[in-house]
């Protein structure tokens, strides 16, 4: 009977994988970028629609040491676009920095393809620019193809 149960379970799991290859629950909701040299990591996270195409989304941005110690963000800038299509962001995202954390509101990716995004982060002691590129495709998890940290 265990064999039968295993087969039924296998069948149920298989049938839940839809034609998009990735189920909604398998799509990520955050991404982290690390710098050994600067002893920093940056996390971007969205409650809904993280990196989804044509969905307005809001990100929480966290800055930490590599060991996870949080660093307070004092100011944040955000810009980006699609170099291959020679255009910038389709919206004007707004940045909110508070003691509880930093937020970028009103991000939208209007096209599939490679987006270059730039975050300028300032803390009490230092400043850093994180530039990364991500390739967005329908029904697939975003593919982060490059990331670079620069000191301000």
């Amino acid at each position: 009977m265990n064999v039968l149960k295993a087969l039924i379970l296998l069948f149920i799991v298989f049938s839940r994988v839809n034609a998009e290859g990735v189920t909604q629950s398998q799509l990520p909701v955050s991404e982290r970028f690390y710098s050994d040299r600067l002893d920093l990591q940056v996390e971007i996270r969205a409650v809904e629609h993280f990196m989804a195409i044509n969905q307005l989304q809001h990100w929480n941005v966290s800055l930490m040491r590599l060991d996870g110690t949080p660093i307070v963000i004092e100011s944040l800038t955000f810009d980006g676009g699609m170099p291959a299509h020679r255009h910038g962001l389709p919206t004007t995202p707004k940045v909110v920095v508070a003691e509880s954390g930093a937020e970028i509101r009103g991000i939208r990716f209007s096209m599939p393809g490679v987006w270059r995004l730039v975050l300028g982060i300032e803390t009490k002691d230092t400043g850093v620019i994180l530039q990364f590129e991500t390739d967005l495709r329908y029904g697939q998890a975003p593919s982060f193809i490059s990331a670079e940290f620069r000191e301000l």
Binding site: L7, F11, N54, H87, S110
Partner: protein
């Protein structure tokens, strides 16, 4: 002995089940790799299938209705019925000769077949856009200077180039002709000297018209049925739709990253990302600022999502709150139009400059490029046969309007400017192909 027999039966049953499972996996893999055109040789990858699914109607895609965000009457059948009567009524104009339907003909997917309306005498007149599926756009007009169907209707009612009525005149007409319809929905009509209440009543008239237009949903075309068959969401009673080899080739070009790249802007079930793009399509003045001005105007518009007449909560107005403005990229940028029902919406582009779809595709092949201009497209550089394939694919998006025929006919009280024979050609399943529109042909070189 009996136990051995049970074990044998169980193993036999398990083996059969395993065989069936393997068979099922095989069938699923085969169907997802997409053998589906007339020649039975089209292969679609999982990624391509995901893309096709995101484009199709009837595959679980339910486009968001922006009208419902700001118009609480958007789903009301009574409001839509009232709006339907207003839409076809020529009394709703200073001249007594102009209705909404004067420029938005049901048998042309609610366009007019003209380069631009004859009354639009401004330096850079624009082509009449379709209303079918317009509820799914966060922006109305080619420059997006309105952010709802109802506010778009209100501008047309007041514009001297369209209906040319004052707010008081509109309310006087409602009192005279539609008091019962109005008051059943919105309550008592205001006194003539109460301007704030007249503004509110005027808004309600727009919301009734918006509720009618919001009903004009595009019907699935051959493309949608084809994709439904591929992804297994087709009604079992429905026949499997096939696309021709040429149409499939056009679809491949349409979604290609390297070749067509059409999908970059024409995505989602309405085939638009609702953005504004500059592609240097000639207009009649060369001075149309497009979205650069439209973004300023929608922010000033008293009837926008954030205004006092909107039924929306502030947090639902994200498109307006985070609007892109004051950016050189928006200069002469215009709304990316839907590609559904293109057979019925000629001539094309914001200036109506191209009489045929083939002219549009030829322009994309070699767009006007001037030093210093921001251009959102690169030349397609396709062979003529590839342009024909693209056009063949685009025709598979024709599906007509997914609404009961009664909504496409003038209601009984409408003035008789629009005969039933004129609009009856529209059907739920699709239209007849209209005659080629009479347009002025202007070379794209000028």
């Amino acid at each position: 002995m009996q136990s051995d027999q049970h074990k044998s039966i169980l193993w036999l049953f398990t083996t059969v089940l395993l065989f069936l499972l393997i068979l099922l996996v095989g069938i699923k893999e085969y169907s997802s790799s997409g053998d589906s055109d007339v020649a039975g040789e089209t292969i679609w990858s999982h990624e391509e299938l995901a893309l096709l699914r995101s484009l199709a109607l009837s595959t679980g895609n339910k486009p968001h209705s922006f009208e419902q965000q700001t118009n609480k009457f958007a789903s009301s059948p009574a409001a839509a019925a009232f709006g339907h009567r207003l839409f076809f009524d020529t009394d709703l104009s200073r001249s007594g000769a102009t209705a909404c339907a004067s420029c938005h003909h049901p048998d042309k997917a609610f366009t007019d077949g003209l380069v631009h309306p004859a009354t639009h005498l401004q330096p850079a007149p624009r082509n009449t856009p379709t209303l079918v599926g317009a509820a799914h756009s966060p922006w109305q007009f080619w420059d997006g200077r309105s952010d709802s169907l109802w506010s778009q209707a209100l501008e047309a009612l007041e514009s001297p180039l369209d209906h040319g009525m004052s707010r008081s005149e509109v309310i006087q007409l409602i009192k005279k002709k539609y008091r019962t319809d109005y008051e059943a929905l919105f309550g008592m009509l205001p006194a003539s000297d109460d301007s704030a209440a007249i503004d509110r009543a005027f808004t309600n008239v727009g919301k009734a018209i918006g509720a009618y237009i919001a009903r004009l949903e595009p019907a699935p075309g051959r493309f949608d049925r084809y994709v439904a068959g591929l992804v297994g969401s087709l009604d079992s009673a429905a026949p499997v739709e096939r696309l021709t080899r040429t149409e499939i080739a056009g679809l491949k070009l349409f979604i290609s990253d390297e070749k067509g790249q059409c999908i970059s802007c024409h995505n989602g079930p309405l085939f638009t990302n609702n953005e504004f793009k500059s592609i240097n399509v000639p207009d009649f003045s060369g001075s149309d600022r497009g979205r650069l001005a439209g973004a300023e105007e929608v922010l000033r518009n008293a009837f926008n999502c954030l205004g006092e007449f909107s039924d929306s909560e502030e947090e639902s107005c994200g498109d307006l709150i985070y609007i892109k403005q004051n950016d050189p990229e928006l200069t002469a940028a215009f709304k990316v139009p839907t590609l559904r029902n293109l057979s019925f919406t000629a001539p094309y582009m914001h200036s109506g400059i191209f009489p045929r779809l083939a002219d549009v595709l030829r322009y994309y092949n070699h767009p006007l490029q001037r030093a210093g201009d921001h251009l959102d497209i690169v030349p397609l550089d396709m062979f003529p046969h590839e342009l024909e394939q693209l056009e063949a694919f685009l025709m598979t998006l024709d599906g007509g309007i997914n609404v009961d025929l009664k909504w496409l006919k003038p209601p009984d009280n409408g003035r008789q400017q629009f005969s039933n024979s004129e609009v009856l050609r529209a059907t739920q399943a699709g239209f007849q192909r209209p005659e080629a529109p009479q347009v002025v042909v202007i070379s794209s070189q000028h």
